[in-house]
């Protein structure tokens, strides 16, 4: 069996937000139960192997959280790759099925970024370390300032991406941020400054949450759900950095930009398709300016043409290649471990045709992209079988 013979049997998530009174295990159970129900009334007894993604909670948490769903003796493996964790857990589960070692595999992710911030993500962190003094917002702002210098990009264009994703999120009941009005460029620009030129509304919120996907051979998925489109895995490419001049070893790094281009290229080659075959894309828009870079790096327009693609409206719902239809990291949210599995949930929902007011018409192929600090990139392609 190859990766292409693997399909999504079930998918589910807990809406991201501030879940102050619920533990990681509580969130994991709710997401797991949702995915098992979507798979067709499964229990953990039907699952052969689980890959558990989280960034912060510490040792033993993968196995302990899985106990919430049952103690069946299944192999459980913790996966961590910073922001890309969820897509990497999905990749491992897909390959576990493709290799034949598991018939049904689960990828589940959770994190409580609010706890991380309370536990020392704020004041004083990094004070006695040479390697952790630069906030993620500052890191991506460095990209933004450089792009403004090279391409003449204006903050209004970053704000337009943020506004688009806020407005997409308002059409998604599972989005953390749900604006009660059409968010405007002016409003995004007027929100508090975070790191020049980025404002608070151009940045993802601090979130808690969980998400889960269950994978199985295509024929099994088809048999269990004869009346539902089968969503299969076309490709999942993962890479860490290739050394390039200008690599910074100290401080947070998510790059170089070519990492996203190379990873996407590998995914397209493995799938035997090109960007022209993709109907919607979800990307790592932790900060709005990133999305502009990924229009180019994922191959949806030429180098330096991202602003044109944006301003032609091609990346919003109704455009040629809608980006972050569920609100993206900016609106749907970004707890960490579950983020990639929330992207998978949105792709599955869209490819089944169940996305309601944000449905991409006749969506057949979807792309999910995440980068993670360190750094890594993961690009996954899903496809609706007809």
């Amino acid at each position: 069996m190859s990766l292409r013979d693997v399909a999504v049997l079930g998918s589910g998530m807990v809406r991201f937000g501030a879940h102050r009174t619920r533990s990681n295990a509580d969130l994991a159970r709710d997401a797991g139960v949702a995915a098992l129900a979507d798979a067709g009334g499964l229990t953990l007894a039907d699952v052969d192997e689980a890959f558990v993604g989280y960034i912060t909670p510490g040792a033993m948490i993968a196995v302990k959280a899985m106990k919430e769903l049952g103690l069946t003796g299944l192999p459980v493996t913790h996966v961590e790759n910073a922001s890309a964790t969820g897509l990497v857990a999905f990749r491992e589960a897909a390959w576990a099925v493709a290799s034949g070692r598991a018939r049904v595999a689960m990828a589940i992710g959770f994190d409580k970024m609010n706890d991380m911030m309370r536990g020392g993500g704020g004041r004083g962190v990094g004070r006695d370390q040479i390697d952790s003094v630069i906030l993620p917002a500052a890191y991506f702002a460095l990209w933004a300032v450089r792009r403004m210098h090279e391409r003449g990009t204006r903050p209004e264009q970053f704000a337009a991406i943020a506004a688009k994703n806020w407005n997409h999120g308002a059409r998604n009941p599972l989005s953390d941020r749900q604006a009660d009005h059409e968010v405007t460029v002016e409003e995004v620009l007027a929100s508090p400054k975070v790191s020049e030129p980025l404002t608070a509304m151009m940045a993802c919120p601090v979130d808690d949450g969980a998400a889960c996907a269950i994978l199985a051979p295509k024929d099994l998925v088809q048999r269990r759900h004869p009346d539902r489109p089968v969503v299969s895995v076309l490709a999942s490419a993962l890479q860490s950095e290739t050394y390039t001049p200008g690599h910074t070893f100290l401080g947070p790094v998510v790059g170089p930009a070519s990492m996203s281009r190379d990873t996407a290229q590998r995914a397209y080659e493995h799938a035997g398709i090109g960007p022209e075959d993709v109907d919607l894309a979800l990307c790592h828009d932790a900060f709005a300016n990133e999305e502009l870079e990924y229009y180019e790096l994922l191959g949806f327009c030429g180098e330096g043409e991202g602003e044109k693609l944006l301003e032609a409206g091609e990346t919003r719902l109704g455009g040629r290649i809608p980006f972050n239809t569920d609100g993206g990291l900016i609106a749907r949210g970004h707890p960490g471990g579950p983020t990639g599995l929330a992207q998978i949930h949105e792709l599955v929902t869209q490819l089944r045709g169940h996305a309601g007011p944000r449905q991409v018409e006749n969506a057949r192929t979807g792309l999910a992209h995440l980068v993670g600090g360190g750094s890594v990139c993961c690009v996954t392609l899903l496809h609706r079988e007809d």
């Binding site: 006695d128 630069i134 702002a141 460095l142 020049e196 070893f249 100290l250």
Partner: protein, 144 residues
């Protein structure tokens, strides 16, 4: 004879050299590959470009060019530089090759891409031995 200045110690050893003369510029501690010649910061045991295992120690800087920058609208480490309303962060290209990501000295309006920068030390605090704990920064050359 005047009183000897307080001894300065690095926040972490192995990243930068502190000159005895408090007026002298510090240097960064890097490596040069004995095979391909690539210069890297901080020090490494294996060349990141060609994987050759023999590198020699080199001192880098103190001058560089600002590749990109930002101004963070929060106090540094949640507590420092609150009066300035935030702090600068940048990437500095050293003439020897490496790009270094660092906190910048200076005010919000002081930075532009391509400007000359110079390495300096900032005292973070005094330790129990009465030594000054220092970290490296880059500052615009004119105001240094």
């Amino acid at each position: 004879m005047s009183e000897a200045p307080a001894q300065r110690v690095p926040i972490e050893p192995g990243f930068f050299a502190i000159p005895d003369d408090p007026e002298a510029a510090p240097r960064l501690l890097g490596s040069r590959c004995r095979d391909c010649g690539e210069v890297l910061f901080p020090r490494r045991a294996i060349c990141a470009r060609c994987l050759h295992p023999e590198l020699e120690d080199v001192e880098l800087g103190p001058r560089g060019t600002l590749y990109t920058w930002t101004w963070v609208h929060f106090p540094l480490f949640g507590t420092l530089r609150a009066d300035a309303g935030g702090y600068g962060v940048g990437q500095i290209d050293l003439p020897e090759g490496p790009r270094v990501q660092a906190v910048l000295s200076g005010g919000q309006g002081d930075f532009r891409i391509g400007m000359d920068m110079v390495l300096e030390l900032e005292t973070l605090r005094e330790n129990k031995q009465g030594q000054q704990v220092v970290i490296f920064r880059f500052a615009p050359l004119a105001s240094a």
